[in-house]
Symmetry: C2
Subunit: 471 residues, 2 copies
């Protein structure tokens, strides 16, 4: 039997897609990578996933696991040689258990993130992972890429939200590691090795995740901030003043929000005059276990001191949940506004928070020296040291001309990140986009260790080849 016939016999012909039916799986979300696949298979249980892996291992057929296909680095798109099988986890989409006394839920890889947020909320709990693609990304993809998002400051990355995993290994065996334990020191941390490995070591089929109490109230404030240094000092004051109640701290260059309100007139800044023209803004979110009034009172005390200290020039505290949402909406609209203005060259970088101000200053200057007139669209999760540092065309420049400079712009920005002790991929992963950038910036000892791990756990190299690390 051919591989295809064997897959059909195993899963039923309905769940083995070929030809045009594979199109939406072989193109990545941003439309940057178009691969080809022998087939897309859609197993509906861990056992079936394991059987597919064994079958592919027997025939030396490469496997590309795929969740919601919303990744930004081409990590779920196969090569264009048409040899790989895409293994979609979409049908493994059950919430297996919610344990409110243990504050955990056990879910399958194909669950959509937003559905999990809702399932937790219906049980009176918070699952805090939150990011732009939450309506279509799956928890399996979040785990494979160790997704970040807007609540990392308080709750951590996907890694920090995970207690246990179920994994199909590259040999097609099942590791039953769905532990719901806060402490377990019985050997090597395989969990965190699979998390963030982007499907190159095995396939995560289910996870036991942490839940948290629902905050009684959430309150948001927008501040006009004179410069990045002040933003960093403001973050320090906010951490001191609010403790763990501080659940969000975003920094945005003024031109980002100014573009949002220009392009989307239904949105408004809560400031007029000079404050609306501020060179930087900070968005702060408090999650309070007492009341909305208490959250606002805390904001007033601590932000008042920050303004007196000159760290901010103005502050607008949301009066109610509608106003809070409107402030967050400003932040979330930046990528849309950016897209309206044309293609940009995007960087997802992180830095020690103490070096961010210097990073922005020096990198802006380097870019202006080498690419005069280009625009800077800078925003991100300052509380995590994570900047989306994007570059747009100069006023007199064609879009194509900017895109032609992409490799050189990458080089300037990533060299500067490296020189400042940062990471060239904060939350999006490596995929195929950055696989050949890693050797330039990674400690060679670390890269060699990664290759050893890859060889040990996927000796035949069938798991998502061409992603993260080359053999």
């Amino acid at each position: 039997m051919t591989v295809l016939a064997e897959l059909q016999a195993l899963l039923g012909a309905d769940h083995v897609l070929t030809g045009d039916d594979t199109d939406s799986y072989t193109l990545d979300w941003r439309g940057r990578y178009r691969g080809r696949a022998l087939a897309v298979v859609r197993p509906d249980s861990t056992e079936s996933v394991a059987a597919v892996v064994r079958l592919c291992a027997r025939h030396s057929v490469p496997l590309v696991p795929q969740g919601g296909n919303t990744g930004l680095c081409g990590g779920a798109t196969p090569a264009d040689d048409g040899k790989a099988v895409i293994l979609s986890l979409a049908r493994l989409n059950r919430v297996r258990a919610i344990d409110t006394d243990n504050d955990t839920m056990t879910v399958e890889a194909g669950c959509v993130l937003q559905a999990l947020q809702q399932a937790a909320e219906q049980a009176g709990r918070l699952f805090p992972l939150s990011l732009a693609a939450e309506g279509s990304c799956t928890i399996g993809g979040n785990l494979a890429t160790n997704a970040g998002g807007t609540q990392v400051l308080r709750y951590g990355n996907t890694r920090d939200l995970t207690l246990g995993l179920e994994v199909v290994t590259a040999d097609g065996e099942i590791w039953h590691g769905l532990r719901g334990l806060r402490k377990d020191n019985t050997g090597y941390d395989l969990r965190d090795l699979y998390i963030g490995s982007e499907g190159t070591l095995g396939i995560i089929t289910a996870a036991t995740l942490k839940l948290f109490p629902l905050p009684v109230a959430r309150c948001t404030a927008l501040l006009a901030v004179p410069d990045v240094e002040s933003g960093v000092q403001l973050l320090g004051r906010a951490r001191q003043g609010f403790g763990a109640a501080l659940t969000g701290f975003e920094l945005m260059a003024g031109n980002c929000l100014q573009a949002v309100v220009r392009l989307f007139p239904q949105q408004r800044l809560p400031f007029a005059g000079e404050s609306a023209q501020s060179p930087w803004f900070a968005l702060l979110e408090l999650s309070d276990s007492e009341s909305e009034a208490h959250a606002r009172e805390r904001f007033e005390t601590v932000l008042g001191e920050a303004i007196e200290a000159g760290l901010a020039t103005d502050a607008a505290i949301a009066e109610n949940i509608t106003q809070s949402r409107a402030l967050w909406h400003l932040r979330e609209s930046i990528p849309l506004a950016e897209a309206e203005l044309g293609k940009s060259i995007k960087h997802d970088v992180s830095l020690p928070i103490s070096r961010i101000a210097d990073f922005v200053r020096t990198t802006n200057a380097l870019l202006q020296r080498d690419f005069p007139g280009v625009g800077h669209v800078i925003f991100g999760h300052l509380g995590d040291g994570n900047l989306h540092y994007n570059v747009t065309r100069a006023p007199d420049q064609e879009e194509a001309a900017l895109l032609a400079q992409q490799p050189r712009i990458y080089g300037v920005v990533h060299d500067s990140v490296h020189a400042h002790g940062g990471s060239i991929s904060a939350e999006h992963g490596v995929g195929q986009l950055k696989i050949d950038e890693l050797p330039r910036y990674k400690d060679p000892v670390e890269l060699a260790l990664m290759r050893r791990i890859k060889k040990a756990l996927d000796p035949t190299g069938i798991m998502n080849p061409g992603k993260v690390v080359r053999p």
Copy 2:
């Protein structure tokens, strides 16, 4: 040259101990394991550690890394064949950097934990790792065993407090991974693989650790609790009512605290009458970012509701820092009181919090059936599902008779832990104490993966042999 002569040439004779000078290094802290060593070496830099590893690798001499030698599982004690070299990290004891804007500190493996707590406090920050041995254990040992302690509920285990590592690999190469980044998705998570590997994959020589704001106030309360179920419900209410301000939640059987006040008359329970005879007690700690008055007011509101709901029968809220310390001191004195009462059989286990009540009930019954009259000394970090579940002799039993039953008692308790979805080593690790227990309780796929990792990162098996996993 002999290995010894080479080591002396490398480090100077003063830092290569032999014979009787090795005695304090070859006996573990609890006096359970006595090994022998070819030598104890005390390098004072990462480069020297790497040179020692290369030298030992060349001669196939096993290496046993050692920090403060306070481990509870014999993980830092060599075999008694006298072939191994103990590598003490004690002289790598510098705080390399404290970065208050980034809230990180970079420290060497041999720093004593308490010294790091103090260094952080002097910089106006909190380093929250806290455990009984903090006056002599070292951060390198804490990292090697992923130490837990009393603040895990809020701040996590050592793993969760670590951003970057510097590691000498089993080949004697140096991985420079001292990143101070909250987000970094550029490849496999080697950091968490080395953390908790107990020196069997390489030697951690330095780490970049997270710092937190110092709480403005800390307040403690002791509650009389009718049973474990109520304790679990109380934990849920406290998490909901206090959010992340809840930094400690300990549960203790009544006999533990009653023994403390009987044996140490200078200590007193804050209750009289029936409450002092409560079958269980809970100790709660709030860390507040506002004021002591605010913390007490929060305690009064939430604990008042808990008492009304019947989850506790009495509560004493500390009026000041002295009273808070006195309440913690009761908890911390349990192991001392236990030691006064004779040797006990100790278990460091964790469970899903939702199954703890059933675990205690069924395991107590199983022990009474098989070992009538033995005593139960049960206390632990309920917020983390971590119990120290210890067994003492029956009133008419000789200590030796109890100790002779140890393997069978281990079997009963660990089988019960396993049946309840728990872990047989919550925070102490595996070492040599539990290495042969793992195959009984660990998923065989997981054990096989661990062996592959060991083989990949330490192919010649020189790193701390006989610990964690056998080849």
